[in-house]
């Protein structure tokens, strides 16, 4: 079956590949929203604002670069023109916001490395596990967007839990700060040193320990790269319950530590549901074995949940036990048009009810997002006749019985059409068409990059309120910017993007802290799937009340009294030092 001829042809089959449909979806997570508040981070829920005044004195720490840009980690983005564009955006960024940069203060209680430390590490890890090579360190000191840069002089590569334990025990006794590092694909500066923290790189701990084909439970070390796990499971007829664009580099230990969301969340739920057990090394080197492989286990407090999403600030994840669903081959994708946001919500409700177990994605974009994609990306066409619709929805189903699933989806769509929920729509007839529908949704960040400067926010909001923010922002900014909204409607996750010709302080002050305050007022989250890291550590009060944050700080203090694990991140600087 020689398919080469077909592949060699022009733009028609541009988005085809030999990979499965799952793989065709680029990373929704790559819709990065990197931003930094330049003012007023001390906002709590409504009237409680006053309680936080003491935090605002601590204005010393703001990250070096105060502004962010998007990076789209799709294949298409790797070519040089895209990189050029990225560089251009970065220049904008510095020009616009350099003056707002301020430094974080290094915690003076941390020791600095000496030659005895190095010899000790060489003793436990051998020469090969202790890296002082400058080039290597330069890479490890910088995040993949080159937004954050630390100055660590040492990278350690443990090969076993025992070695991780020895490293931490020593660092704790010497009061050496540590930054755990996986694939270093984070978006909020959580995986790179801020100053001279010792980098504990997990990539050599990449063994699969066991896989149970009956229960679908995988046990592996924390340094396993997500894509390798996906490939391993594919041969067994299973999939990982999470998938994201950074899968080629990101590691499962890091995914767990950041509670990574990704593409399959609406179907399989978050890692809090799928991770069955963890082995974690605490700051003092104690190994906590919570590596259960049981779906049900009500014996005492379920401590593993503390470590899921703690961004490496409570312990280093050395082993993971995770529940994996079977791979299903029947995938259908529909691209639909809705005339108003209310219909989108109703459609979501109906889809959950009528498509039930086969619904695997429910994404939405507004007409301005579609226009951007059609105007800025080559080879993308509107699947629907060019009538003006205000909203577009992408629905994906995944199931085990192709004719049944298709009939079910068709039935649902025709019913929704008769009921007036959707004004038009198209159903992909083959994988190529399905990919081209996904391409529209996933091409938005890339199109935004091409359109000029972009301010990005990744917010969790109640679904019924989600689009109000976009509309308010539109009124607020009127003609000065193009405000677009898209995201994972099924998860209540909005990507609010504000596109302008160039970065401008005036526009930023119009957006922030308004966006955070608005999100806070509606009890949303200022970080839906990316975490707080270094970037938003001080903004935590927008989404969590003081009492909750203080409890977090006490837990941190108890598990890591000297605060050596991933310092300056997750919790406000004022509380964690």
């Amino acid at each position: 079956m020689e398919r080469l001829r077909l592949r060699a042809t022009g733009s028609f089959f541009r988005y085809c590949s030999n990979r499965s449909l799952f793989d065709r979806r680029l990373n929704i997570n790559s819709v990065n929203s990197i931003h930094n508040s330049t003012s007023g981070y001390a906002h709590g829920f409504g009237k409680n604002c006053r309680d936080f005044h003491f935090f605002s004195d601590n204005h010393k720490w703001n990250v070096q670069t105060c502004f962010g840009f998007v990076r789209y980690q799709g294949e298409t983005f790797r070519d040089s023109t895209e990189k050029g564009l990225l560089e251009k955006t970065r220049r904008f960024q510095y020009r616009g916001f350099g003056s707002l940069a301020a430094k974080v203060q290094r915690n003076p209680s941390f020791s600095t490395l000496n030659s005895d430390d190095i010899s000790y590490f060489k003793e436990i890890l051998g020469e090969k596990g202790v890296i002082e090579d400058e080039e290597w360190l330069a890479t490890a000191n910088t995040d993949w967007m080159h937004k954050y840069k630390g100055s660590s002089k040492l990278l350690l590569q443990p090969r076993s839990t025992e070695e991780v334990s020895q490293i931490l025990k020593y660092c704790n006794s010497r009061c050496l700060a540590v930054v755990p590092q996986g694939g270093n694909t984070g978006l909020v500066g959580g995986s790179v040193p801020v100053f001279d923290e010792v980098i504990v790189n997990m990539s050599l701990m990449n063994n699969i320990i066991s896989f149970d084909k009956v229960s679908g439970i995988l046990v592996c070390e924390g340094g396993c790269i997500l894509e390798n796990l996906i490939t391993f499971l594919d041969n067994q007829g299973f999939i990982m319950p999470l998938d994201l664009g950074a899968k080629g580099s990101c590691q499962i230990g890091g995914n767990v530590s950041t509670n990574a969301g990704g593409l399959r969340l609406v179907r399989y739920g978050s890692l809090h549901g799928n991770v069955l057990g963890l082995e974690v090394v605490l700051a003092d080197g104690n190994v906590i074995d919570m590596l259960g492989t049981l779906r049900k286990d009500n014996t005492g407090y379920d401590l593993k949940h503390l470590f899921i999403g703690s961004e490496g600030s409570l312990g280093i994840v050395s082993k993971v036990s995770i529940l994996t669903p079977p791979k299903l081959f029947s995938v259908n994708v529909a691209f639909l048009a809705c005339s108003d946001y209310f219909s989108c919500q109703k459609l979501l409700m109906e889809a959950k009810r009528k498509l039930g177990e086969i619904l695997s994605a429910f994404e939405f974009l507004d007409s301005k997002s579609l226009d951007l994609v059609l105007n800025h990306l080559d080879g993308v066409r509107n699947p629907l006749p060019p009538t003006l619709h205000k909203f577009y929805i992408l629905i994906e189903t995944t199931g085990s019985d192709e004719p049944y699933d298709r009939q079910k989806l068709e039935g649902f769509l025709l019913h929704a059409m008769e009921a007036g929920l959707i004004s038009d729509g198209a159903l992909a007839q083959d994988i190529n068409q399905a990919s081209s529908f996904w391409r529209i949704r996933e091409g938005i960040p890339e199109a935004l990059m091409k359109a000029g400067a972009v301010y990005k926010y990744d917010l969790s909001l109640p679904v019924e309120k989600m689009y109000d923010l976009v509309e308010e922002m539109r009124t607020r900014l009127s003609d000065s910017a193009n405000v677009v909204g898209y995201g994972h409607l099924g998860d209540g996750n909005l990507h609010l993007n504000i596109s302008t010709a160039q970065y401008d302080d005036g526009i930023l002050t119009q957006i922030e802290p308004f966006v955070y305050e608005w999100t806070s007022k509606h009890r949303g989250s200022i970080s839906a799937e990316h975490g707080l890291g270094l970037m938003k550590a001080n903004e935590i009060f927008y989404s969590k009340p003081t009492a909750t944050v203080s409890l977090m700080a006490s837990i941190k203090k108890m598990l890591d009294p000297k605060g050596i694990l991933n310092p300056y991140k997750v919790l406000p600087h004022s509380l964690s030092s």
Binding site: M1, N18, I422, L427, I431
Partner: protein, 251 residues
């Protein structure tokens, strides 16, 4: 004038092909099946001709197992007016398909028969030529442009040939096979999917059409192409020279 379009159900273009473990063929169980991309183009061209007012009806024809009806429904959802399904159980080879098509042409009497230039599963690229031969109709294969002149009853076809483009003028009725650059097929929209539900699909058996299905081809074995060996990283130029001399024998 009627246009008849042949469409084939094949393993989806984007699916990774796996060979059955007993080497008897390609795995099609639990594999996404779709319309052959060249057939989509053929159907799109027929629809455009009809929309331009040059044809009165587009009839889509498929052959094979009963699941082929799904593919036919896709064709109807794209806009074909009605469908014909010749139900067979065993494998079908180009000559049998061509004979069945000839029999159907005699029933339907279309002015144009449009096919994809080849199917992406067996890559035969024979059916269009064979059916033209059997019908004794002129053929324009690998079409990248089709222009119809209704009054003169001729069709002008640009063909993609090795050296560039060849333009042929065919008297109708004629057979056309389509290449990739001819057009970009449309999506099946929901209103059209809804309409397609009420469109008629007529069933035939090879016996109905007086065609005996037999094969002059015996498939001995299907195997995957050999896997590429992983590369090695060498530590020195000397090692490279040694490998080139003693393993690759190229210097």
């Amino acid at each position: 004038m009627k246009i008849m379009v042949a469409i084939k159900r094949v393993v989806d273009y984007a699916v990774k092909i796996r060979v059955k473990s007993d080497k008897s063929g390609v795995e099609t169980q639990n594999v996404k099946m779709s319309m052959n991309p060249f057939c989509e183009i053929a159907l799109e061209e027929a629809l455009r001709i009809k929309e331009a007012g040059m044809a009165s009806e587009v009839v889509a024809v498929t052959m094979g197992l009963k699941q082929c009806v799904d593919t036919l429904r896709t064709g109807l959802a794209m806009g074909a007016d009605r469908g014909i399904h010749v139900e067979t159980s065993g494998p079908l080879y180009p000559l049998s398909v061509a004979k069945l098509l000839r029999a159907l042409v005699e029933v339907e009497k279309p002015g144009l028969l449009i096919l994809g230039k080849q199917a992406i599963d067996d890559d035969c690229n024979q059916t269009g030529q064979m059916v033209a031969g059997l019908l004794n109709w002129p053929q324009g294969t690998f079409a990248s442009k089709v222009v119809l002149d209704k009054e003169k009853q001729i069709v002008t076809v640009d063909r993609e040939v090795d050296g560039g483009l060849e333009t042929l003028c065919l008297d109708m009725p004629a057979v056309i096979t389509t290449d990739l650059r001819l057009n970009q097929p449309r999506y099946a929209t929901l209103p059209n999917i809804m309409k397609a539900k009420s469109k008629a699909i007529k069933k035939f058996t090879p016996e109905d059409l007086n065609v005996e299905i037999k094969s002059d081809i015996e498939e001995v074995q299907v195997t995957e192409p050999p896997k590429r060996k992983a590369g090695v990283i060498l530590s020195s130029v000397d090692e490279l020279i040694d490998k080139l001399k003693n393993e690759a024998h190229v210097i």
